[in-house]
């Protein structure tokens, strides 16, 4: 694995070096986009190239944490990136982003709902840096044929009746969010006592958990492999399409609401093209194409209105009424020490 890791590092380096070279010849009409894997309809990129004549150089990342060091190092300059809430927060704090000029992105003001800008203020106080692209909640997906009681609380994930039938998220913040929210604490807490309690809860839960997974929650729930799983709302719509026995709930104790949005880094070589790209992505028809492709909720209200399938347009899962919930909280950046504390406790829980 040592070699694999080393190879990986070198791969990153060489990619960085290559993109670096590409950027130096910025006379070319290009835009460098760095997005999550499978996070937009590839056809929209072709349409963008056809309409504007700007060539899209498109890279994908798997986690915010993989993306961040590449951007921070500055060797690979991207024009548009799509990080999540707390990572936007971190990038703002570390002065990696430039302010967005809304005059050049008219679709952003016109089409993106005010609710979402309000939520985004949790991590981008004046909406200066980030334009929401996708959003959703985290909740419990359960199989109605295997769970006969109503699911309302996170505490069902600690019910011994479902031992071996529970899928947890294999990611620090999401796992802690579940335990913290159940106790009524903030999912951004840095209080050691609260975190201790959450860690003990996660340790107590471990024997009941079938597996800690991320993307596989989807496939395993569709296949009836488990009764309950912690999942992102965007995946929930997809799973229900495949297996109608599945139901998604946001537990009453509250949950995490997340937003991924477009940002322009400080060292972007083609700011103008970046603005054109974001503006294009905010167009209602394009946002609709992307929504239908990835099934993650779009904050684009103009696109929401265009959804033909009435059931999805009015779906409480895809578009829950944010004003109905007062206990949905977005993740914030916790600082280096906060991150380290969470990770240490997570490792402790997992090695137990």
């Amino acid at each position: 694995m040592k070699k694999l890791l080393a190879l990986l590092l070198c791969g990153c380096l060489s990619i960085a070096a290559l993109t670096g070279c590409g950027n130096s010849s910025s006379k070319e009409n290009v835009v460098y986009v760095y997005n999550w894997g499978e996070y937009l309809d590839p056809e929209t990129l072709e349409l963008f190239e056809q309409e504007t004549g700007i060539k899209v150089i498109y890279d994908e990342f798997e986690t915010n944490e993989i993306m961040y060091p590449k951007v921070e190092a500055g060797s690979s300059a991207y024009d548009v990136i799509c990080p999540s809430d707390y990572m936007v927060n971190k990038m703002i704090e570390n002065d990696l982003l430039q302010e967005i000029n809304y005059d050049h992105i008219p679709n952003a003001k016109a089409n993106i709902g005010a609710d979402y800008y309000r939520t985004a203020r949790d991590f981008d106080p004046d909406n200066k840096y980030c334009i929401p692209y996708c959003w959703g909640t985290v909740g419990i997906l359960y199989n109605k044929t295997m769970v006969d009681e109503p699911v309302t609380s996170w505490s069902i994930l600690w019910d011994e009746k479902y031992a071996g039938e529970i899928l947890m998220q294999d990611s620090v913040r999401d796992a802690f969010m579940v335990a913290l929210m159940m106790k009524g604490y903030s999912c951004n807490t840095l209080d050691e006592k609260e975190l201790r309690e959450a860690t003990d809860l996660l340790i107590a839960q471990k024997p009941l958990v079938q597996a800690y997974v991320i993307d596989q929650v989807r496939d395993k729930m569709i296949g009836g492999e488990a009764a309950l799983g912690v999942i992102y709302s965007g995946e929930a719509i997809f799973t229900q399409r495949e297996n109608p026995d599945l139901e998604y709930v946001i537990p009453e104790e509250g949950s995490n609401v997340w937003i991924d949005g477009w940002v322009i880094p400080k060292n972007a070589p083609n700011v103008e093209n970046a603005e054109k790209f974001i503006n294009f992505m905010c167009r209602d028809d394009i946002a609709l194409m992307n929504f239908e492709y990835i099934t993650y909720s779009t904050p684009n209200v103009a696109a929401q209105a265009l959804i033909e399938d009435e059931e999805i347009r009015n779906s409480k899962i895809a578009f829950p009424d944010l004003s109905q919930y007062d206990n949905l909280e977005a993740f914030k950046y916790l600082g280096t020490e906060g991150d380290a504390l969470y990770n240490k406790l997570w490792k402790e829980a997992m090695s137990n």
Binding site: L9, C10, Q210, Y212
Partner: protein, 270 residues
Amino acid sequence: MNKKLLSAPFLFWSALFIIIPLCMVFYYGLTDQTGAFTLENIKAIATPEHSKALWEAIKLSVISTVICFFLAYPLAMILTGMSTSKNSLIVLIFILPMWMNFLLRTMAWQTLLEKTGVINGILSALHLPALKIINTPSAIVLGMVYNFLPFMVLPIYNVLVKIDPNVVNAARDLGANSVQTFLKITLPLSVPGIISGITMVFVPALTTFVISKILGGSKVLLIGNVIEQEFTQTGNWHLGSGLSIVLMLFIIFNMVISAVTDKDGEANAL
């Protein structure tokens, strides 16, 4: 001069993909976030969660190596006893799965072992009790043995075929029975192959993070998983590199042993 020229691509390759990354691992492992020298990342192995992960990894990889050895040795002996035409077919069958991607094979095991998987489907159709090993250490051991077994068979087979039959015959002539011949002649002569096989199974098993993730459901935290997390999730490359250096010590130790016992490099000549 010619020789030097010929080795240039290899030297370039090793510098780019082995030496430089290795230097980077050492650089990150021995510095902190500010770039100052520190041994904290190495000492971090002593914390309860890290040492437990290391211990789990050692335990599972030793078990897998032992199982591989006991499966591989008889198989290698059977192969040696066969005519060349027959055994090349069996060797081919053995190597064939290795042409498929390692990740894919491991995921296939997941599909086989799952609660609603293929094996349990067959078992329940036969009214037999379900197999419940997915997401347990046993499933990880199974994955390790399955994936790394060929690396044990081939080196052992390589030394066994090179043993001069006359040596064995001489032992029999002098009155040794088959057990004695095996213990006094065959086994000692095959030690280089065994050591090489052990290295080739133990090292990848010790460092794996994919098998424990896919077949263990991330419920068993191995040292490989900790390191992977430090790089991809936590973003603490310093700690990840520090722990990698610790792991490297184990691997170097293992390689030194195999280098000492296999001076002629026989076993590795696949």
